[in-house]
Symmetry: C2
């Protein structure tokens, strides 16, 4: 990050960011004080903000293209967990002098690629200097039909608990990037690192699935399901043996280089955990099939509070660290 | 900033930030993945994001209460410049270990005070760690009747150019805080420092005034009016002698400790600059009177491009630095 110096803020907006707003009339060409947005009739807007800080959420030598993808995708994952369709995003960049124009262009290319993929336009932002590490903030705005949002508070006792995709890969990827030896190499290693760097927001699943409540796995499966429990005034029981894990994760478990509890509490998966009434199993599977995302039933919502985990033998499992600690 | 350590992220949300979301049902108690918002029928939503970084936009020993006020107000000023009414805000905080609970509580008190004053609720956010200086991001969402937004691109040649309040005080305040001796003391000194630290968003004026185009003065009067010129494909001519300045600024000008050009290019005033047809002068003054904000006509929109400034003798003034350089 020490090549061509940055142009002034306005040249930067014009040359690097304005192309990302093309086609979105409410963005006003990034030339105005703010952006305009109107929900489709019958819809509410859904808004989420997430920040990524270098050294905390991504590493200094992560490619800028992928950092941009991650920044957008962690926010899109929040929209997915509400069942929302993406509309616009606003970008806040605080960057030190060490960030050069090539880095920002690569960042903008990553954002452009994912904006096209997920049908979301850049509509505004702010770019400023910092003496610290790059600090990136993105606000994603989507929309969902009124009354159709997948609120965390909507779960009911007896509902089944499902999760999309596989759990724990991002935690493996982060450990590898931090230098851990998990006995993974080649494609297996690349696959889990890619899951850490570039998560897959489950937007189609969120929009299609007849769920009652949903949350995305950012802090860890147990911790995030705990948020659904708290908001719904319920407990949950999950069977660790049912939690879907990938081939690389199974290999690492087999070698004993990681434990099942590490996968259940690892963050950054950005899968959806959701609940649905027991009699909606077929509808859930149909929606997952249409969205082309595997979903697995892992447990049940219960009376009480908190998440209890049963090990593959049916015995209670001790889950020490229930998720990321941010401080 | 080295007193009580911070609780975990979720305790922090519950104890410090959730009270700021009380009364806003779309905030979902800050317990969900995202917030819900619906514009009033006939309105569009208006969205803006601004970041403040310690050492760049505020100083390490600025009171946290006032930092929160500034963070909210610079965003509200963007809404004011669109003629919008505030609705909700989303807060992104990246904070180093040196920030303690007392600082955050003071910050939250400042935000709460201004949320009440400007009728805006906290509806979501993200809190994370950084190894750098505090980096604060706020997204403000307001609404404006469809077709009533004060776009920068709506100015017409021949329209009068107005500015609210007085120009240049914040630049004086910043220089004083940086140790400059401007010959100001006591109340005059306090007044301009307060204008730098706690700007006054001109929301009532923005909502009431029959303007064609508007912008808020964040980078400097000449620079920001230049944005209106660019977006409208026009030029502007302003008469420096008409630009309203405060008593302290007049005193500093009289002593020669600051020049008129410094005031015209100083940032952080957060006054509104707007244009209106020549025959709407009375309506502009009526609106300003209802909003209880002084407005002054300072010039005229012209064909051509760029902002030309005439000195008090009618001669062209050289304006070297046309606004803040952010890099």
């Amino acid at each position: 990050m020490s090549g061509r110096p940055l142009p002034g803020e306005f040249a930067l907006i014009r040359e690097v960011f304005a192309p990302l707003a093309a086609g979105e009339t409410g963005a006003l060409g990034l030339l105005d004080d703010a952006a305009l947005i109107e929900p489709t009739p019958g819809c509410r807007l859904v808004t989420s903000v997430d920040m990524l800080v270098e050294g905390v959420h991504f590493l200094a030598d992560d490619p800028a293209f992928q950092v941009a993808q991650k920044l957008l995708r962690v926010n899109l994952s929040d929209l997915a967990a509400m069942g929302a369709r993406p509309r616009i995003c606003l970008l806040g960049l605080a960057i030190p002098k060490s960030v050069d124009l090539d880095w920002l262009r690569d960042f903008a290319r990553g954002l452009a690629a994912d904006q096209e993929r997920f049908a979301i336009a850049l509509a505004g932002g702010d770019t400023t200097a910092t003496t610290g590490p790059p600090c990136l903030s993105l606000t994603a705005i989507g929309e969902v039909e009124s009354g159709r949002a997948l609120l965390r508070s909507n779960a009911a006792a007896g509902e089944h608990v499902y999760v999309s995709g596989t759990i724990g890969d991002a935690a493996l990827g982060l450990r590898l990037l931090q230098g851990a030896d998990l006995g993974l190499a080649g494609h297996a290693r690349d696959a889990v690192i890619a899951r850490y760097r570039v998560p897959e927001p489950r937007l189609r699943l969120g929009m299609a699935v007849p769920a009652s409540a949903a949350v995305d796995v950012s802090d860890g499966l147990v911790s995030d399901l705990g948020h659904v429990c708290l908001a719904s005034g319920l407990g949950a029981r999950i069977e660790a043996g049912r939690v879907p894990v990938s081939g690389p994760a199974r290999a690492a478990l087999g070698r004993g280089t990681i434990g099942l509890a590490d996968l259940l509490t690892g963050g950054d998966d950005y899968e959806l955990v959701f609940t649905a009434p027991a009699d909606r199993g077929n509808a859930v599977r149909d929606a997952a099939s249409r969205a082309r995302v595997p979903v697995t039933r892992i447990g049940t919502m219960t009376e009480g509070e908190g998440v209890s985990v049963l090990d593959p033998d049916g015995a209670p499992m001790e889950i020490g660290k229930a998720g990321h600690a941010h401080f």
